[in-house]
């Protein structure tokens, strides 16, 4: 049952991802990107990372996607070109070099994953399974994450908040018009 739902979510991710890269209309691709992100949040829940899934929905769907739709609407010449192109062909013509390169990369990665799986797992995974130190579905991960953020990972947490502030100020400065401040 669990496995069936996992397969459904991964099928949604992969088909929507393939549609995003093959559709001609950029607006449709942006809204399918939304579907991919939601299904990825579902996959995160299967890896017992519920807080990551919530953050994914809030940050990506609430922030990143809105920004992308804004940028797409503001570059409206491309929008008109895309809408006119969409009347003719539904799917864009793929160019074979990129397909060849990505499929080659996929083959290499899948082969190495299978190879790695057949040898053995890393040592820390086997010792953690033996010591029963793996995360279970009944654990309260959010409480543990909060404790870890405030104790062991306090310095990276502060650094990344300063970084986020700097990046957002930089983005606001870059998108400001030059003539009239």
């Amino acid at each position: 049952m669990e496995l069936i739902i996992f397969y459904i979510f991964s099928a949604i991710v992969l088909t929507a991802g393939l549609l995003v890269v093959s559709l001609r209309n950029t607006a449709r691709a942006l809204f399918l990107f939304f579907v991919v992100l939601f299904a990825m949040a579902g996959l995160f829940i299967f890896a017992l990372a519920d807080f990551i899934a919530i953050t994914q929905i809030m940050v990506y769907v609430g922030g990143v996607l809105i920004l992308m739709i804004f940028a797409f609407m503001l570059s409206n010449k491309e929008l008109l070109a895309d809408l006119q192109n969409a009347s003719g062909k539904f799917l864009s013509l793929p160019n074979w070099q990129s397909i060849l390169l990505s499929i080659g990369f996929l083959v290499v990665m899948v082969y190495s994953i299978m190879d790695w799986q057949s040898v053995d797992q890393p040592n820390w995974i086997t010792t953690n399974i033996q010591n029963n130190q793996i995360i279970k579905s009944t654990d309260n991960t959010i409480e543990q994450l909060g404790i870890k953020f405030m104790t062991q990972f306090l310095l990276p947490f502060e650094v990344i908040s300063i970084f986020l502030l700097a990046a957002l100020i930089g983005a606001a400065h870059l998108s400001r018009r030059e003539g009239n401040p």
């Binding site: 807080f51 990506y60 990665m109 995974i125």
Partner: protein, 101 residues
Amino acid sequence: MITLTHFLIVSACLFCIGLYAVLAKRNAILILIGIEFMINAAILNLVAFGRYDKLVYGGQIFALFAIVLAAAAVAVGLAIILNVYQHYKSINPDDITDLRD
């Protein structure tokens, strides 16, 4: 039982879709979406491995950091795309050939 391999295969496929988008697309926003696909594949790997690490929670915490970094990258990248659009009236990376005007 969902094993580690399932997650790794799904994230490898998603990574390759993102790679194709980066290589083949002629629209800067779609290239940014391809980069997001690759970052999401990496986050799925981090989370899948982090399940076996109850002492440190390293995978999940690093996944949160990666999400924040991706959001910051998108904000700056879209600001740059808008500036380039105002200058060149196009967001096709093939058209943008000059570093300075």
